[in-house]
Subunit: 403 residues, 2 copies
């Protein structure tokens, strides 16, 4: 069975494999092979998420060693060499046949691979395999998107168009923030979202969307996000709560969506009734900060300096205390890479000093937290070009109002 | 702000801490302390999911060392000693003050802790800290539920009642399996589901629910599940697809839900129109297998033998080829622990030879995959008692039909 949505074409896989192999050889010390097991990386380099190992030698063709459904892996993946791996004990032989005799310098995804699994691989591969962290070079390759990938991200943003269009009518009813969040999540799925949001790291996860309004929105994140929220219960502790949305308070809608594995990230504001002058003034300030950032993000610009500029601009607008989170709990970034995962590099944050490259896709999200009003912010996803940015988020930035 | 849903009472935390400390001391070699970082374990032992470390010495009181929101950690958690941890560099001092001078034998969750994080902890703690795998003893403690925990799991099953009650009406419309899945997921949230499903392990995740019907349901899982499905796209590759549900084909509804962090797991069948005689006969066979398993699950019964009995019973019913997954891709279990995570111990599977204990909560899920009809199965969550089981899943097992 095939799906109407795009699958990863062979030319894409070939481009990615060449890119990653180049980085393997340029690395110091160079890697003889990568053994890829994490789902987003596996999908990036093979086009399938079947339980498998992708064995990629620094020269030559990759082998997709499939543990689960071989037929499906062969139909999902455009790779030529898709073969079964009956037992993990076969890995050493595969490595030898792909890379020649031991010793080998092997890259694995040590930022996500659990310790016990890592030890099991070391036992299987033996002392002649030195296992190093291969994630940085995979992530660096993933950070520069092809035109095909950009089209997927553009498509994912069309889902936002469809769900935000439904907000005015939904605001007519009596709803809690969690209920609005839940309804919009479902509408996103019905509008094409594939149902999975991928974030990299232990216990780093988020829902498709977050809806917060007023005081509850001012509760800081338990994790790494600029928006926290009360959540429906302490076991979740983020996003919407079981409190009704109130007239006149700003409602922040921070939504993800994914099609063909690629994510869109977008934040818009809504209100039942009218915003007061204070909120409107903050919202205008946020808009000006976003315009300023749009003016400086381009290939060659340095992420840490863009972040510093965002802080400056926030100070100029009188929004320094509460910028990117409530006071004391401000997160130290103003944007992040978006692609097969939501927390990709580059990050617009201190210490990210490597210049942006054309093809980076960045969610830029100036947000201000006010103790009583909650979160007031905007977020668009941009394609970084040589001369500036292209906004991949088509939805108008104006506050969404009840019809 | 507080939530109406139950938070973890102090008496619960005290019971859990005593249980885990007992296992730390009985372990060979014994542990001096546990340093807990994973979200489900952290919530189990503290009642909060704020980014934190729980430092639990083998004797004495635990300290919750909070990295993120201290105020919220203090309001969510009934522990006495909830304090900030300004920098990870403070961990060594905390360990020394809780456990006395080095050396220390420390348990961490090595089944989930990524290699790079583990190395960072080893650097912080120094060579005098030996770090061993603490997960097995935490998971063994978590496997035996208290009356309070059982009440949470019971409550979570009430969500199924509410969503399955809506299925007859939904079946009246034209829907794809993915659309029905998406709508029921949203209804589950509106009915009390907290929006997060927790599974343990790298890339082990699932949606709230899976809806498959006919041929698409016969596609094997890319991962560890008895039900696979086509999914909306190869980047997701499980669950419902964008194909319309057809009259007369069995529709499998496998749904999770969580309240207060605790999960319910339940599978029911539905149909638009009438089931044919072949499907009805298979469904009756599945019902008899489930009755047989209900008759043998009790404290003292051995999981691997229960699994063997399930296979025997499936053979007797003529359902051996396709039991627990399509031929060639059958998963080797017939039930699993359910609690703060969906893939808990004990597992009704080969090699699980430790007898069941009163207080275990098990999802038992005989399922048969037919190449044309898809998945036909049932799943209830049971409380293991001394003399048998109590079914925590109140929903009738009859096939749900369009009104």
């Amino acid at each position: 069975m095939s799906s109407a949505m795009a699958t990863v074409p062979k030319s894409e896989l070939e481009r990615r494999i060449r890119l990653v192999q180049g980085r393997m050889r340029e690395r110091s010390p160079p890697l003889d092979a990568l053994l890829v097991v994490q789902v987003a990386d596996l999908y990036y380099l093979s086009g399938t998420i079947q339980q498998a190992h992708l064995l990629l030698p620094a020269e030559g063709e990759p082998r997709l060693l499939v543990r689960k459904v071989l037929e499906r892996a062969r139909s999902d993946s455009a790779l030529d060499d898709v073969r079964p791996l009956a037992s993990l004990k076969g890995l050493r032989d595969e490595l030898e046949s792909a890379c020649g005799a031991a010793p080998w310098r092997l890259g694995m995804e040590l930022d996500v691979l659990p310790v016990n699994l890592h030890r099991a691989y070391l036992d299987l591969l033996g002392a002649e395999a030195e296992v190093l962290d291969g994630s940085p070079l995979i992530l660096a390759a993933r950070a520069v998107k092809s035109p095909w990938e950009i089209e997927q991200i553009r498509e994912a943003h069309r889902i936002h168009q469809r769900i935000f269009d439904e907000v005015p009518e939904l605001l007519g009813g009596e709803l809690t923030s969690y209920a609005l969040q839940s309804i919009l999540e479902s509408r996103a799925r019905l509008a094409g979202h594939c149902g999975v949001i991928r974030m990299r790291g232990l216990d780093v996860s988020t829902s498709i969307g977050i809806v917060v309004s007023g005081e509850e929105g001012a509760l800081p994140s338990h994790s790494m996000f600029p928006i926290g929220g009360e959540g429906p219960h302490p076991s979740v502790a983020h996003g919407g709560s079981r409190r009704p949305l109130r007239d006149g308070l700003p409602i922040a809608l921070d939504f993800l969506a994914s099609t063909a594995g690629y994510h869109a990230d977008c934040t818009r504001m809504a209100v039942k009734g009218e915003l007061d002058a204070e909120t409107a003034a903050i919202f205008e300030g946020i808009g000006r900060i976003l315009r300023r950032l749009e003016g400086i993000v381009r290939a060659g610009a340095v992420p840490s300096r863009i972040y510093a500029a965002a802080l400056e601009e926030a100070a100029t607008e009188g929004l320094a205390n509460g910028f990117m989170g409530p006071e004391k709990y401000q997160v130290r970034f103003v944007g992040h890479g978006v692609g097969l995962e939501v927390n990709e590099v580059p990050v617009l944050a201190p210490k990210f000093d490597e210049p942006l490259a054309a093809g980076n896709t960045l969610a830029v999200e100036p947000k201000f937290t006010h103790p009583r009003l909650g979160v007031i912010g905007l977020e668009n996803t941009y394609l970084v070009r040589e001369t500036g940015v292209e906004n991949l988020t088509p939805y108008p930035e104006a506050v969404i109002r009840r019809r």
